[in-house]
């Protein structure tokens, strides 16, 4: 049976806390890991990657060291979109960011913060398969 992992990648710890609470309200109690930037997440991901498992990543764009875009660029080296679902979670409402997000096959949705309970309920489907 394949395992599901949930990652939060955001330098804003409060934002991660808020998102976790919203997920809980939607009865998503998956065990998760949090990373402060793309580099930390990537290092962990690369060394613990299992091709049989499924990964859900909530990814912020603007972070120090390695931002969300750079992280996405590095993903394709070892995983495929079928195994890895990325939700871009950002405070940005910049049209350019939304257009850019569409160019990445890993990105399932572009979510503007704050993510509401209603939005998460919509996404639930993508979690459990």
């Amino acid at each position: 049976m394949s395992k599901q992992h949930v990652f939060f990648v955001d330098d804003d710890l409060i934002a991660i806390m808020i998102l976790k609470k919203v997920l809980e309200k939607c009865d998503l109690h998956a065990s998760s890991l949090s990373f402060k930037n793309g580099k930390e997440a990537l290092d962990y991901f690369q060394s613990n990657y299992s091709s049989t498992d499924h990964y859900v990543i909530f990814l912020d764009i603007n972070m120090p060291v390695m931002n969300g875009w750079e992280f996405l660029d590095a993903l394709s080296a070892f995983t495929v979109p079928e195994k890895t679902t990325v939700f871009l979670v950002t405070s940005s409402v910049d049209e350019a960011d939304i257009i850019r997000a569409k160019q990445y096959p890993f990105v399932s949705r572009f979510l503007s913060k704050p993510v509401s309970v209603a939005t998460v309920n919509e996404l639930k489907v993508m979690f459990n398969d």
């Binding site: 804003d12 409060i14 934002a15 808020i18 998102l19 609470k21 919203v22 309200k25 764009i61 603007n62 405070s91 940005s92 409402v93 910049d94 960011d97 503007s112 913060k113 704050p114 993510v115 509401s116 309970v117």
Partner: protein, 329 residues
């Protein structure tokens, strides 16, 4: 035979009464109503022209008058008749003098002994018409010369091969600070500024400008100019006529606008990315606080996060206000 019905106004400068009557006869024979103004000396001609603004078609000038004669008479007469054609009449055949007087600017040289009504009429008609064209040509030349010399933009003509300045206009003299004579002893390369001497980082040209050169004025000031040129024949050689447009000021403005744009982009980026971060946090926290199921102690903790985020937002907005002020120095 039909007489010419056109109206001619003719000045006859002749001191010999017999010769004058003969001329009058000839004129009457060919022309229906010639208006003949008879003066008998250079002085009389001078005072007539000075006191009348009547348009004269042609002047018939006897070459030996009591007060002036020969070459001097021709020169002085041409000075006062302006563009009116002048035909010399003389009793003395002198071929070399005839050629010389034509060179001085008279329209025709007729020998009284050979004169007939027909030859006189033909000469009058021919020289009036030819003179009209000459006057037009001169006016046209003058107009084009004015277009060059009085152009508000600096212009010059330079040799197409060695780039020596052949002529410069007034604006070029004023703009560059060199006199016309100084220019004519220079080549175009002398006013071009050598790029390698300066630090390119302070260069206000944002690149990809075609035909933009740096020129150095006499006072050392370096300006940016857009050059347009065309090939023209000039006094028998191939030359280039060049129009100069000083764009130094425009480039400075362009640079300033680009810098302002950069700062505006920075502000737009901050608006989109930095301002919304604490705001989104506040919105998310309030969502959770307003949820009845959230425990009270968690709500209190979230409230303190709301306050922190509000302070952060305040700081960012202050930063933007400061940035905005820096756009317009």
């Amino acid at each position: 035979m039909h007489k010419d019905r056109k109206k001619y106004t003719i000045i006859v400068v002749e001191d010999n009464a017999g010769d004058f009557f003969l001329l009058q006869d000839y004129l009457d024979e060919m022309i229906l109503t010639p208006e003949i103004i008879h003066v008998a000396s250079f002085k009389e001609l001078d005072s007539y022209l000075a006191s009348n603004s009547k348009e004269i078609d042609i002047v018939l000038l006897d070459l030996s008058l009591p007060d002036k004669r020969g070459e001097e008479l021709i020169k002085e007469t041409l000075k006062i008749v302006g563009t009116t054609p002048t035909v010399v009449l003389t009793g003395y055949p002198d071929f070399s003098f005839a050629v010389k007087s034509l060179g001085l600017g008279i329209s025709d040289y007729l020998l009284k002994d050979d004169l007939s009504a027909a030859t006189l009429y033909k000469s009058i008609l021919y020289n009036i018409e030819r003179n009209k064209n000459l006057v037009k040509l001169k006016e046209s030349e003058h107009r084009y010369s004015d277009l060059f010399h009085l152009s508000p933009q600096p212009m010059w003509v330079c040799d197409a091969e060695n780039f020596q300045f052949l002529d410069v206009n007034l604006s070029a003299v004023n703009h560059y600070g060199y006199t016309t004579e100084e220019f004519q002893n220079m080549v175009v390369g002398d006013i071009e500024f050598d790029d390698t001497e300066t630090d390119l980082s302070s260069d206000p040209i944002p690149g990809n400008f075609e035909d933009v050169y740096k020129h150095k004025k006499k006072n050392g000031e370096v300006v940016y100019v857009a050059i347009r040129s065309n090939t023209i024949p000039y006094k028998g050689r191939e030359a280039k006529v060049v129009l100069v447009n000083d764009i130094t000021e425009s480039l400075r403005h362009l640079k300033a606008i680009e810098q302002q744009n950069e700062r505006l982009m920075e502000i737009a980026w901050t608006q989109s990315h930095e301002v919304r971060a604490p705001l989104a946090r506040i919105m998310g926290l309030i969502q959770l606080i307003s949820d009845a199921q959230t425990p009270v102690e968690e709500k209190l903790e979230m409230l303190s996060h709301v306050m922190d985020s509000a302070n952060e937002l305040d700081g960012i907005i202050r930063k933007i206000v400061k940035q905005s002020k820096s756009i317009f120095p």
